[in-house]
Assembly symmetry: C2
Homo-oligomer: 255 residues x 2
């Protein structure tokens, strides 16, 4: 079956309090798509965070001693470093320009996923505003999904993605940070292979593969097309959570 990924035009700039479910449904309609059972919507973290008002003005933040010390090593604003520390469980590595952390949400990422906000109409210097990740992206995905399912009667999956770097490869790739109604992992262990004589041992991160695919079509203009419609996902939809994707600490060889 063919997998199709359509970046939706006609999503307006998002502001705190906006109803993303309604905006996505309207854009789906304007893009000439009829939502069907089994479709998936992928949203970039930025618009979810903006709608949930995860904006912080750095002038309201007083950096701790630890943040001030760390800011020297990573060459970042101490107030931003303070937020990175608050959003993180632990610090893995520090170098000029990045702090690699274990985020409170469980995954490893740079700078706790905090970005400059790009929200228009905020008071003061726009460089003072930053955007935290959604507080609970699984819950955000579930809420958007429930609203859409309620107003359409169609069963869908919803995923929220961010761009993450990798330990040993150049460039960021779209990565799942929250999901509802689609499988995070596909467990092939114990299935016979094509020749029937060997059992598979593979677990596939279908959610991260889809996150990368959706990120590709959001592309450079990701703030212009922050929602992607997916049809033809090749596995049955089911409930799952971000936690499926996090490698437990005791299996981590590289921390």
């Amino acid at each position: 079956m063919t997998l199709t990924l359509t970046p939706l035009s006609e999503i307006p700039l998002i502001h705190p309090g906006d109803n993303l479910a309604d905006m996505a449904l309207s854009a789906i309609h304007l893009n000439g798509i009829n939502l069907r059972d089994g479709d998936i919507l992928v949203l970039t973290q930025k618009i979810v965070s903006k709608a949930e008002n995860r904006l912080v003005n750095l002038t309201t933040i007083t950096p701790s001693k630890e943040a001030v010390e760390l800011s020297g090593r990573c060459e970042k604003d101490p107030r931003l470093v303070e937020l990175i520390l608050r959003e993180s469980k632990s610090i893995l590595r520090v170098r000029p320009g990045s702090v690699i952390v274990e985020h409170q949400l469980g995954f490893i990422c740079a700078n706790a996923g905090i970005d400059h906000s790009n929200v228009q109409g905020l008071s003061g210097n726009p460089e003072e505003w930053v955007l935290l990740l959604p507080e609970n992206p699984d819950r955000s995905a579930l809420e958007i999904r429930q609203k859409i399912e309620t107003s359409t009667g169609v069963h869908i999956g919803v995923m929220i993605i961010d761009s993450h770097g990798r330990a040993w490869r150049i460039g960021v790739v779209g990565t799942c940070i929250g999901l509802s109604g689609l499988p995070a992992l596909i467990d092939e262990r114990g299935q016979p292979d094509l020749f029937g004589y060997k059992l598979r041992i593979t677990i596939v991160s279908a959610a991260d593969e889809l996150a990368a695919a959706a990120s590709l079509v959001m592309g450079e203009a990701s703030e212009g097309t922050p929602v992607v419609h997916v049809r033809g996902f090749p596995y049955p939809l089911r409930e799952s959570s971000l936690q499926e994707l996090i490698r437990p600490k005791d299996q981590d060889m590289f921390r």
Copy 2:
């Protein structure tokens, strides 16, 4: 623009010496697709390795002292460990079931990408046959691309993928191990963002994002649909190489 990924049915089981370009073209035709400029074909490493006869029978391998020592720590056949050592530049981590290496090709992966072969019709015990990665996957991709471009007059990209684990997340994802005629990376650095006041700092691994997308549609039956046709790749095609994707050792924080 919509991105479509179609796993091609009608690819036969591959044997050493097979002409993958001809087989892919035939399958494209049988799947009702007319190849167009800008299309991309993604092939799983397994069929490229089989066509290039990268099969090794373990009974022909004499393990070194180092391989015997390592085999105890990783609980693998010492002859397989010998091949892993020969295919690798260095060993990063060892635990029961996996040896994480820097492959001769430059990337970090488990067990040097060596897999059991699943090639039918080989002599002796099928469990004794293993399959190495292609010797030079960029060259393999170029050769397949040139054959297809010569016989069709159409300009395409060709990528070869494998499934790689990640340091901190569960599950494998499709990852580029060789390519020809499409960009490995998209460098957004220095481009103004949507609001014009901030320059982007992002490099996106478009090839790895596409590799993940293609792997998703190959799915559990990847040995049955080892070639994916891609239309709507959102960036201009260009020459590139696997080396673009490899993080230099001096930037590696996690080795």
